[in-house]
């Protein structure tokens, strides 16, 4: 019993000591916060090429196509991101000579004709070049020339836009 009482007494002493120390940590503080919260988003510079003439809505594998003399193939290139990429490089494989075999139209091809054709001289498109890569959500409509028998895949490879410094 005596030992129990001593333990209770020691515990009570410890509690009292804590209570005595409490005022030192009870000093006031003040806070100031931004309301509403600051929204921060990151850029997305993803561009995809798909087979057919429907604008793409999701990433996909390299577009595959086959065309022959008099039978062109149609592809659609779409900027799925929220910025214009710093660079966009079109790459073709298995017999596709981009400059010689691919035409780019800003509108869907209609009966094999284009109302707004894009003149391009390099498969590497830069954000400050002409033409620049498509804007976010914009599509380019591609057509193989069909002058020769070609087939294979096409990809779009994109790099981030140039860095910005903004003060506002």
């Amino acid at each position: 019993m005596a030992a129990t009482r001593r333990r209770w007494a020691a515990a009570a002493g410890a509690v009292l000591a804590l209570l005595a120390a409490a005022p030192a940590s009870a000093a006031s503080s003040a806070r100031a916060q931004n309301t509403p919260a600051q929204l921060v988003t990151a850029a997305n510079w993803a561009v995809v090429v798909v087979s057919g003439t429907s604008p793409a809505t999701t990433p996909g594998p390299p577009a595959t196509f086959t065309s022959a003399v008099g039978i062109p193939a149609y592809l659609t290139l779409t900027n799925l991101g929220n910025v214009v990429p710093g660079t966009m490089t079109l790459t073709g494989r298995a017999g596709l000579t981009l400059l010689g075999n691919v035409q780019i139209c800003l509108d869907p091809w209609s009966g094999g004709t284009c109302s707004r054709q894009l003149t391009w001289t390099s498969a590497v498109f830069t954000a400050n070049g002409s033409p620049a890569p498509p804007d976010p959500g914009q599509s380019w409509y591609l057509k193989t020339s069909g002058l020769v028998v070609v087939g294979g895949t096409m990809s779009a490879v994109t790099a981030p836009p140039a860095a910005r410094t903004v003060n506002s």
């Binding site: 931004n34 921060v40 850029a43 997305n44 990433p59 990809s155 910005r164 506002s168």
Partner: protein, 230 residues
């Protein structure tokens, strides 16, 4: 016994009871009066008192702080949109000690108000924060280097993840009535250069993420001071 005799006995008993009650009441009244007289006699001694003619005024201090934007800046209420690697976007805010007490240990912390993303959880690839103070308002152009109209303090540069984990000290003291002007820069490391192929982003990408940031400035009260005269 006749009815007359019975009635006479009852009347006699009632008379005796009334007499007893009167006697008890008299004794009680006498006792109360005696106690009252005796008690008042105890406190009937002389006494004196003194007091301050003008009441002592006692007030408690206030510890208050406000956060706002500076000049034409919208401060933290303006979205930082579509950050690309190497981007640095700076917002300008001011913090005022509007209380009557001096403050101490002014700190800044960060917290997420929406789903946590790598922007605030990845110390290497995520947001990098730089905070610098000025004793007067900052001046700037959209793309020019901001200029401090007073004296700058040491810059605090840490990943957002660090600001989330530990509040960073901005100043050891903050005087009552004072205002500090801060430029708060957010950037994505240029090392985040990611190549996307056919719309597929790399694993662990920093692209397309978003965060909702709550900035919290906190100051403690100045140290308690015992005062013995004034």
């Amino acid at each position: 016994m006749s009815k007359k005799q019975t009635a006479g006995s009852a009347a006699a008993r009632g008379t005796r009871h009334a007499g007893v009650l009167k006697t008890v009441a008299g004794i009680a009244a006498t006792a109360v009066a005696g106690i009252a007289i005796t008690s008042s006699g105890v406190y009937a001694l002389l006494k004196a008192e003194a007091y301050n003619g003008t009441a002592e005024q006692v007030t408690s201090g206030t510890l208050l702080m406000t956060l706002g934007s500076t000049g034409t800046s919208a401060g933290f209420s303006q979205i930082v949109d579509k950050l690309a690697p190497g981007d640095v976007v700076t917002r300008f805010v001011q913090v005022a000690n509007t209380g009557t007490l001096d403050g101490a240990n002014l700190t800044l912390a960060l917290s997420d108000q929406a789903a946590v993303t790598a922007l605030t959880s990845d110390a290497v690839k995520g947001l990098q924060v730089t905070v610098q103070s000025c004793t007067a308002a900052w001046t700037w152009t959209t793309t020019g280097t901001p200029a401090c109209g007073g004296t700058t303090g040491a810059a605090v540069a840490q990943p957002a993840a660090t600001f989330k984990a530990t509040a960073q000290t901005l100043a050891p003291t903050f005087a009552s009535g004072g205002t500090q002007f801060y430029k708060v820069s957010l950037g994505l490391p240029a090392s985040n250069t990611e190549i996307s192929t056919n719309g597929v982003v790399p694993v662990g990408t920093i692209q397309g993420l978003s965060s909702s940031l709550r900035w919290t400035f906190t100051m403690d009260q100045r140290a308690a001071v015992p005062v013995f005269n004034n």
